[in-house]
Each structure stands twice: as structure tokens, then as C-alpha cells.
Assembly symmetry: C2
Homo-oligomer: 280 residues x 2
């Protein structure tokens, strides 16, 4: 009948739309995309199952990429849904799955929802003043990529704000477990604003050492955001140096390096200074 891609929004079970909930309840099979740790968004499958009153099957990257036929199997006669954190076309896309459905002549419908890409507007920075979004990768064991620096610099030069999405590591195996072929996974890890800020400070030093005038400095203004859209959301507006010491608590974090700020943007950001009473 129909293959539905349903956005779950920012992490609370009640962030699903009424339309989305009605569809979930009537579908024959319901999957949840578990690429990014849905746990980092506060969602675990059993909680969703309880809330929806039905079974929800976790589909990790391997299943979605290699077994898309399994997911779409029977979607020509029954309704099948894939649940996705955020908006189905937010930070990751599902073009491949949609294309396969279309090839099989299965109608595809999308139930949109909030994505971090627009929800960050809650800090007061205007969405149309954002440049390219970057992903900051977690530095591990001497692997220290910094390709996002150039994009930040390019946005800064044009006066644009840069949204930095922060890395999540899920289903990682220890070297020992990997070598022994044991499918035991480490607990999910996520990059915090403080860690990301520290990485940016190291990059800053390296640029200086290389004789390059860096695009930002220790005192550049930054916005740290944690758990956007949740009841315990936290936003802080401070310097990059300050952010590198600031504890924003549990995941998920993201950060913004503002470009040129307009007076109203600054007024709003000032309500998130570390000293201000925290009002979400």
C-alpha cells in the first residue's frame, strides 16, 4: 500500500505528530532507524513500543543498506513505516530506501517533523544567516581530522553562522572484541560541546603555528546547545575558551560559531549567558 517515512522529532515520545502516531498504529510493520544512537535522543525502542502499543523493529545501518528489500517486502499490499529521529530528510537522508520503493512502484509518503537543523533557531540566531553545516568528528588515538575548519572559516568570512553537529559513536567494538569476532559493542559515546571546543582550540594553535591567521580565536563567541527541544534543554552563550570548560550535561550536544550578529540576535543570545538565570 504505502511506505511511510515518519519523523519522530527531537526525542520525546510525544514529539511525534498526531498524523504520524495514527499511521504508526495502523501499519503492518514498523521499523526504527537506529543508525545514530536513538538512545542519545532519549529514545529506546521498548519505550516507543509501550507508547505506541505495538512492536517496533530496530533497523541498523546494515539492515537498511543491505536488506532494504526485507523492509519493503509486502509494502505493496500492507502499510510499512520507518521511523526516523528528527525529520526524515534532516541530517541523514533515506534517499536510497525511497528510490528502491519507487522502483518497486510502492507509493512513498513522508511525515515531516522538527530537525535539529531548524530547531537551533531557538537560541535566537536567524536560520537564514546560517552557512554550511559542519560535522565535528571525535578525535581518537591520534586520528585528528580538521577538515571542518575550512568550512567554518568560509562561513565566517561571509558573516554566516556555522552549526556544528557533534559526532556520535555507536556500535563501536574494542580492538580485542573486533579481533576475536565478538559482536560486543562499547557503550555509545558522544562528543560534548566542551570537547568539540577543545578540538577547535587545538586547531587554532596549529593554524597559528603554521603562520595562518585563524578564522576564530579563544575569545570568539560560541553557543553551546544540549538536548534541544527537551524539557531540560540547556543553551549557553560564551567564549570558545569558556565553552571548552562548560559542562552541558547529558547528550545530545551541538554548537554554533556565530558569524556577523544582528542586534536582536545578540539580545536573545545574551539571555543565555552563563550568569543569567537559565530559562528554556
Amino acid at each position: 500500500m504505502v511506505f511511510y517515512l515518519i519523523g519522530l522529532g527531537l526525542g520525546d515520545v510525544e514529539d511525534i505528530t498526531v498524523k504520524g502516531l495514527n499511521i504508526v498504529r495502523k501499519c503492518k510493520r514498523v521499523y526504527i532507524e537506529a543508525y545514530t544512537s536513538i538512545l542519545c535522543y532519549g529514545l529506546d525502542t521498548s519505550r516507543l513500543e509501550e507508547y505506541y502499543g505495538r512492536e517496533v523493529v530496530e533497523a541498523d545501518r546494515t539492515i537498511v543498506e543491505q536488506k532494504s528489500d526485507e523492509i519493503l517486502d509486502g509494502a505493496d499490499v500492507d502499510d510499512v513505516a520507518m521511523l526516523v529521529v528528527g525529520d526524515p530528510f534532516g541530517a541523514t537522508t533515506h534517499t536510497d530506501l525511497v528510490l528502491r520503493a519507487k522502483q518497486k512502484a510502492i507509493p512513498v509518503k513522508v511525515v515531516h517533523n522538527a530537525s535539529i537543523l531548524n530547531a537551533v533557531g531557538c537560541c535566537g540566531l536567524q536560520l537564514y544567516n546560517f552557512g554550511e553545516t559542519v560535522s565535528i568528528v571525535m578525535w581518537l588515538d591520534g586520528w585528528e581530522p580538521d577538515s571542518y575548519y575550512d568550512k567554518i572559516a568560509s562561513n565566517m568570512e561571509k558573516g554566516f553562522h556555522t552549526l556544528c553537529l557533534l559526532d556520535i559513536k555507536t556500535k563501536e567494538q574494542s580492538v580485542e572484541n573486533l579481533m576475536r569476532g565478538r559482536k560486543i559493542f562499547e557503550p555509545p559515546r558522544y562528543l560534548t560541546c566542551a570537547e568539540a571546543a577543545r578540538q577547535l582550540l587545538v586547531i587554532l594553535e596549529r593554524k597559528r603555528e603554521a603562520g595562518i591567521q585563524p578564522a576564530y580565536s579563544e575569545s570568539s563567541p560560541c553557543v553551546g546547545l544540549a538536548r534541544v527541544g527537551w524539557d531540560n534543554q540547556e543553551i549557553v552563550f560564551c567564549s570558545l575558551k569558556e565553552l571548552s570548560h562548560y559542562d552541558l550535561g547529558p547528550p545530545l550536544h551541538c554548537m554554533i560559531l556565530p558569524g556577523q550578529m544582528h542586534p536582536l540576535e545578540i539580545d536573545m543570545l545574551n539571555t543565555f549567558k552563563p550568569t543569567a538565570v537559565s530559562i528554556t
Copy 2:
């Protein structure tokens, strides 16, 4: 108690989130922001009132800008909500109202939802490949602004896609009614993809006449989108020239001028060619 800003998503009454609906039902007063024609989004206040089972007060630009005290009045003791089409921080923002609430020490909570800014990903173009969003203004009576051209050209140069939001005219008065001081408003008008494409073709001619090599041509690929997120959503992938003749039906429309396209983006866009069977 709390001042809530609640996103309504893309236009169906059921696009509200479950969380948003629960809040709307318990608030003392509920307003709907009627800046942009909510009718163009298929929403009329009486339909919302029926669905929510409660009164909803329309607040136009004047009320929100000049009478924000009235809206916030009593929000320190009772819950008050402002409903907004899309995401509260999507195409327009409500920074001013939020700032006033904060000044009055009224807690502000936001219930996010889908916005056209991320929902356009449904055409297959990756959101992180979009440059600055532009607004195409409706040409009227010889007033033919073209400042958005430079932004499109700048995005194109960098290989970025450009989302073009199209103008909506609401609460416009005829010259006669304006002169006679009669508060009679013309029916809302909205710019269609075809009209916007025609304006872009005129700008193209003018650039050529001025000896400027234009950023796009008649045969440049375009995406026309109508009623994104609705059951009768339509997407078409064709040339700018073709789009200038293409009828995408009722509002709301937006269009995209793609920059550099990746193979998977092209595969997906090809499913929206005018000749293909329309699958939403």
C-alpha cells in the same frame, strides 16, 4: 506559568505534535500567528478550533508587534500559547515576543515542528548542500526587485542549491479602499512557481542585455514544489523554461535552483520529471 510557542508543521491539523496538542488543550489562552496567510497553508482558525475543541485567537502582525503585552498578560499565572505555522524558528522568528516574555520573567517553552526549510529535502537534494535561502518577491505595477539574483548566483558559484521561498500577499488593500480608509482586504495572493520562474527568466534577459554572463539559463534544472507535506503534494523536476509554464496547482509553492548535484540526488530528482508517474 509558561508562554508556549508551538509549531504547527506544514498545514494539516494533524501535523501538530502530540505534545503540542496536549499543551494547546490545557492552556488558558491560545493565539495563532496570522502574519503569513494561514489559509495558504490550508489552515483556518475555525477548523483548528473544532479540532482542538477550544477557542483560538488570530493575532496578526500588528497585534504581535504592538500588543505583545496583551498576549503575555497573565502568562505569569496561566499558561498561554502562540501557534505558528511550520517551526516557531523557521522562516520567520518570534525573538521579540520571546525576549519580552523573558524580561517579564515568564518561562518560555518551544514545541518544535517541521519547517519548509528542512521538508524540502523530500525532493532528494541533500540539506547540507543548500546555500543561503532567498525570498522571491512578487512583481507588481512596475516594482520589480531582483536582489535575490545575487544570492542565487553566489550559491551557484559555490555549487550550493538555492531554496527560493515565494511571496505571499495578505491583508492587501486596493488603492480605493486604502484611500477611503476602508479596512477591506483583497483575497490573499501567492506567487506560483511558474510566475517566479518567469521573473527569473526576465532577470536573465536583463543580465544578458547588461553584458553580464548570467548564473543560470533557460535550460537550467529547477525543482518546483507545491503543498510540501500534504497528501496532494506535487514536485516537478524540469528546466527553468518548462517550470515557467508548469501549473502546480493551489498554494503554497516554493522552488529550488540546484547547484552541483550528486548522482544519488539526480536519481531521486529524476523520479519527479514531468513525464514520470507522480508519486509523492
